[in-house]
Symmetry: C2
Subunit: 771 residues, 2 copies
């Protein structure tokens, strides 16, 4: 854990240069716009520790899967989002010496991520070996408006005397991933060009043959006026750029504006890609840096108007929640159903930038509430579009007749996780994908989604479950053997309650959905039956039989659901009784010891109770919570939010607040000592849920939004925006009152079980004590 980030409501601030945390800061100060992402690497060369990262959405490399022993069904490759051409680079030499923060003396270093307006700023003073001193300021953004473009304003001021400055803006395709095997490079150069004040690269990924055109243009300002300077071309292997030289008198400042674009063949035909890049580059360069920055502020203003959470009385919490929301909005904008949300977004290499069940389980609620419905819908359509691949994936494992197993990890719908205990066994992801359909429809009321897309996915998933269980002669029930639940600190267990319960629910929901679609659109219903070769006589009957006869472990004496068979055979020592130096277990214990222990990585039984809360009475929830929470080590960033929400539900607001704290500043304070790898993007949605579903107790019941608000003593108030079926609500919860205003359509809202109708433009205030 580190605590060097300066607390501020709208800005993330680092003061003073500490190379030891540079990679952490590179993650935290990342910028992105859903199409491209850029770690907070320096523009100038830096020979210290740094993880270079420029990512272009959807462009990946199918890396050789690394396993000791190959077995049938193992995926062929591991998809990774790859480091693309460096577009931010500006080499600087002062009087012939390289400006490199690892070698010069640095003072007054400051890095600011302006979340309100969406840009990154950095300033510092550098004293070179011959004592010349300069001041550098840079501002960088990835434009939300021109989402294939980024821009940099980079100024150097001579502080100590006359100096000679050499600057070289460049594009560099000589890049690799840190996690590449044997330093393999993933890119081939197809073309490079030099123009007047511009240069470009056309690169192709190996194997996948994605093309990315990266182009740059620059301008030089002296005293804020554009000046002409002589340029010399720079051309080194896969690097193109310009070299510029100028004398700088003491006190004088020179500014380089650099515009860069990244266009991928995912969005443009290959034959026009270079021309399109040129066109886009001209467009933004003509627009100019100031205008881009102004548009950026406006675009972010609109994002914040939908998604901001305001916390009064706690700057640390305010900063943290905005940081989470900012990064979520930087990662996914919902305009392209081919994209999804990697656990680290565009902020690092780890987890390969690929899609996990995190999206359905944690991210969908955020986007449902804070963006137009098509944003969350596109996340669902992403899976719909991968249905055929999910069926093929199941076939590889031996399933038949249209059963689908969605991949644990994917880029294009193919499985690319390579641990059998996850790939083949952490099959509960299928249930999360079904649940997201249910959740989306419950929230939006868009039942037609079931007709258009949802039912096909549900049928394929239910077919999987129906084949994945087997009848146990010994038990006289259906069992689900050899699975891994959300608690990945156990693998290959039998009858994981979460998985079995969710499977049972999937079958039930699919059966209901069949009826629903038949009712809504009989023609389409027949079409689906036909398309899926559905056996209306047999399949529903079998599903119903499994649903009614699923083995679900429980311990009657303790009154709890049993996480899996044999769980109570384990040595039951509570987390609180573990020596503090043993934590986190995943760093201190061998995998062997972890597997055999009773410790739970993340909510498992409780995850199921969270998803399907209304099916359990409060006493049952409490018993399970009281049993499992003390055995949970929360070593997944996705765990505390679920516990926060359930704790709040059980009326234990203070514990909910403790869990909230654990998730909200996870990256800002580098809790798990791994922020340098990238930010925990998907768990940031969990933080949002902790506030909205946890503290505010927001649920959808019978088509209505309901709230059961709680506020911690530590805050004066908190407020958030939610869209709901045309209503645009702003909910503010203080200690005495809840205010809800509405700028959309009329809304019926339950607050602590009382119904309120809020007309457009209207506002209700509910006195909390009076409830």
């Amino acid at each position: 854990m580190k605590e060097y980030i300066i607390k501020d409501e709208w800005n993330i601030i680092e003061e003073g240069f500490d190379p030891a945390v540079n990679e952490v800061s590179e993650s935290i100060f990342s910028i992105g716009n859903g199409r491209m992402g850029q770690r907070a690497n320096f523009e100038e060369r830096y020979s210290g520790k740094s993880l270079q990262g420029s990512y272009v959405a959807g462009v990946y490399y199918p890396d050789k899967t690394r396993v000791g022993w190959w077995k049938n069904g193992y995926p062929e490759y591991f998809a990774k989002v790859i480091n693309a051409a460096n577009w931010i680079g500006i080499d600087v030499w002062i009087d012939g010496e390289t400006l490199d923060l690892a070698t010069v003396e640095v003072s007054n270093f400051k890095r600011v991520l302006n979340m309100r307006e969406g840009y990154l700023q950095r300033s510092f003073e550098a004293t070179l070996s011959h004592c010349a001193k300069v001041e550098v300021q840079s501002t960088r953004l990835c434009s939300l408006v021109d989402d294939e473009a980024g821009a940099i304003r980079y100024s150097i001021k001579a502080l100590s005397g006359d100096i000679h400055v050499k600057m070289s803006p460049y594009l560099d395709g000589n890049i690799s991933n840190r996690d590449s095997n044997y330093d393999e490079q993933f890119w081939n150069l197809i073309d490079k060009k030099q123009g007047s004040q511009s240069a470009s690269l056309l690169m192709e990924t190996k194997k996948t043959a994605f093309w990315v055109a990266t182009a740059m243009q620059y301008a030089i300002l002296v005293d804020e006026e554009i000046v002409e300077v002589d340029e010399v071309d720079r051309d080194e292997d896969k690097l193109v750029g310009k070299v510029l030289e100028f004398p700088l008198a003491k006190g004088q400042q020179i500014t380089l504006l650099k515009y860069a674009v990244n266009l991928s063949s995912e969005n443009h035909a290959k034959q026009v890609l270079s021309a399109k890049a040129e066109e886009t580059l001209q467009k933004v360069a003509t627009k100019g840096f100031d205008k881009m920055k102004e548009e950026q502020a406006k675009a972010w203003q609109e994002k914040w108007a939908e998604s901001d959470i305001v916390i009064e009385g706690d700057v640390a919490a305010q900063q943290a929640i905005r940081f989470n929301i900012f990064q979520l909005n930087q990662t996914y904008t919902g305009e392209d159903a081919r994209l999804n949300i990697g656990p680290k977004g565009f902020t690092g290499e780890k987890y390969g930038g690929v899609t996990y069940w995190d999206t359905e389980a944690y991210c969908v609620p955020f986007y449902l509430a804070t963006a137009e419905p098509h944003v969350a819908r596109n996340l669902l359509i992403y899976r719909y579009n991968h249905l055929q691949k999910a069926i093929e994936n199941a076939e590889k494992l031996g399933f038949r007749d249209g059963a689908a197993l969605y991949p644990m990890v994917t880029m294009n719908g193919e499985e690319c996780h390579n641990e059998w205990e996850i790939t083949f066994e952490e099959i509960h992801r299928n249930a999360a994908i079904a649940f997201a359909i249910f959740n989306y429809i419950r929230y939006t009321g868009d039942e037609h989604y079931l007709v258009e897309y949802g039912l096909e996915v549900l049928v394929a998933i239910s077919r999987f479950w129906a084949q994945r269980v087997n009848w146990s002669g010994a038990k006289g029930q259906y069992v689900m053997l050899g699975v891994t639940g959300p608690n990945e600190y156990e693998n290959n267990v039998n009858n994981n309650w979460y998985t079995s319960y969710m499977a049972m629910w999937c079958l039930e929901y699919t059966l209901e959905s069949l009826d629903k679609v038949k009712q809504l659109d009989a023609g389409r219903f027949d079409e689906i039956l036909d398309k899926t070769s559905f056996n209306l006589d047999k399949e529903p009957l079998r599903w119903q039989h499994i649903r009614d006869n699923m083995y679900l472990g429980e311990d009657k004496e303790l009154g709890i659901f049993l996480q899996q068979d044999n769980y109570l055979d384990k040595e039951q020592i509570l987390v609180k009784d573990l020596p503090v130096e043993d934590r986190p277990l995943n760093q201190k214990w061998s995998w062997d010891r972890i597997l055999r222990s009773c410790y739970i990585k993340q909510a498992d039984v409780l995850q199921g109770i969270y998803f399907l809360e209304d099916r359990f009475d409060l006493e049952t929830i409490k018993r399970n919570y009281d049993f499992y929470e003390p055995r949970t080590v929360h070593e997944s960033s996705l765990s505390p939010c679920v516990h926060a929400i359930l704790a709040a539900k059980l009326g234990d607001g203070e514990r909910a607040y403790q869990f909230y704290l654990r998730t909200a500043r996870l990256d800002l304070d580098d809790y798990n000592n791994d922020t340098e790898d990238g930010l925990h993007i998907t768990s940031m949605a969990g933080t949002w849920m902790s506030v909205v579903e946890g503290f505010a107790g927001m649920r959808v019941r019978n088509g209505k939004l309901t709230f059961h608000p709680f506020i911690t003593e530590n805050w004066k108030s908190y407020a958030f925006h939610v869209r709901f079926r045309g209503a645009k609500l702003y909910v503010k919860i203080a200690h005495e009152q809840v205010h809800i205003s509405n700028e959309g359509k009329v809304a019926e809202v339950m607050i602590n079980d009382m119904l309120y109708t809020i007309l457009p433009g209207d506002r209700v205030a509910v006195n909390l004590e009076s409830v």
Copy 2:
């Protein structure tokens, strides 16, 4: 399955050249002497499919372990025996054209492995593109007498007219493993030298820094007379050699004798390694090829006198059993306690040439019976010498206080298997190592081994078991969670009967051994207590408590031991009811499907019954055999032998014979379609066991050898040699009679429960019907 090997009692014969089976033949016709091993690659260049393999015992490379996700406790490297410098190479050009069996026309190709005398012979005729025809004959051996040396006699005869022959004997260090990652090479060249008619390489392995000096010398014979020819040095990177040219008149033959030595820094100091190699080379070259071949025949004669099995009336069976014995003797000679027996010996890269539990479970009995006691004893001492590393290995996983977990796979005592479900969980290997101590002492009567070495190992192993179990509050017994039994088609199961039972037995045997050592040598006993910081008050008590309260699953109704918890929840379809096209499962089914099925890869419960047979009554054995055998797919080469022995024990000789057939010609007929990777060396010992322990029913009981012979209708008789406590018995079993002769000390032998005393030089005959 292939059946191209010509059946012969003493020779393995291939006639006709079929490139499609070349790699299979390269494995089958491998030669070795315990110190070095050589696949049957051609001397001349071959551009067709070939797995080059020259191996030097004990020289390995710690390859980067390949796993998707690293977790604490995973081994750092995977040790592999590596392809060493090619010492057999002789390039040949006829009239300027390369002699390459992939490009010339080949006729009369014949390959013969002479097992009686221990050499490989090959002959063929080749017609080159301009129609010149030559006859080539080569003979090659790895000397048992000079075990760092090999020799080749390579003749070319001009058949069709006068020709010009260019020959180049060489050593080539430009070699790699087929299984190396990214074609990484494992060797650096340290030195190379040219001499008159000689050349040498000094190579060093990367990382491990083993040195191997490889040197060669040649001579040319015309009409069997040594002639002088002009030589030209050849020097290409890591290749050194000579080029020789001569005209050859029609009908004339020229012969190249090539002597080569491989000396490793495991056996000589580095500074003298090259000189030693030169010395050894001179020694064998002076001795000459014919003398070496003569000595080889004599050395093999001695091996056969100890270990031959003679089968009358079945050439295929005779050839097969000799092949198995021949390869076992080529792989391990028992003179060096640092060496062990890799599953593929020196015949391929697979399994890295490293040590598995195969040694203790399958190989020890063979060497116990067919060689002097020090041979098997050295296999035990290998583990004793690794005890400290086994303790460290356990510590890495969190075990304490001198508990040892022997590695699943090792070269030098460190674990280098990299699948958690095996590495951490297939812990029954510890029991096999303890069992080998018991078995060795039971066989040899050498109780002093316990005093000197055995007890320390047993204590460390029992400490492991005592920490590895945990008390289950739910069961009120000790449970063993998260293990993988011998049946690797299930991973991470709970309460695997075999593992738990063997652990219980280990505790019991260690407790007995403590008493025994105290009795035999009280001083040494105190020394061991001291050395191991043994707590005499607490440890035996705890061990006894675990031994008495170990949970061992059984199904009372079926009257069987339960392979593991939940086994009966699986769908129970017998192997015979599986579609034939689904077999072998490991090639046809996904790993997911295999794991969830009831199918057993190799004997598991039955392995335990085999080891500790005397603890179970015949009815119990029969019930378990009848239940598990029909569920076993025998997809490990180590499975059929155990079933053969138990079937014979249960009086089902014909079934035992069927199992024997499955194991005996496994490689000769390439049953599993994988002989090209190398031979199944360790399972060859299982074949031997099938005959001696299966058909002949040999056991040690109360310090006496006992037999319960059975003979299949398909054989006239079979006979084998066994050493036993100074006696040297030759046992011949025909349909009517058993003859046992004795060339050693007096022996008391039970045949079908009758006691016979056989004096030195004497012989008994027992009429089988009369018993």
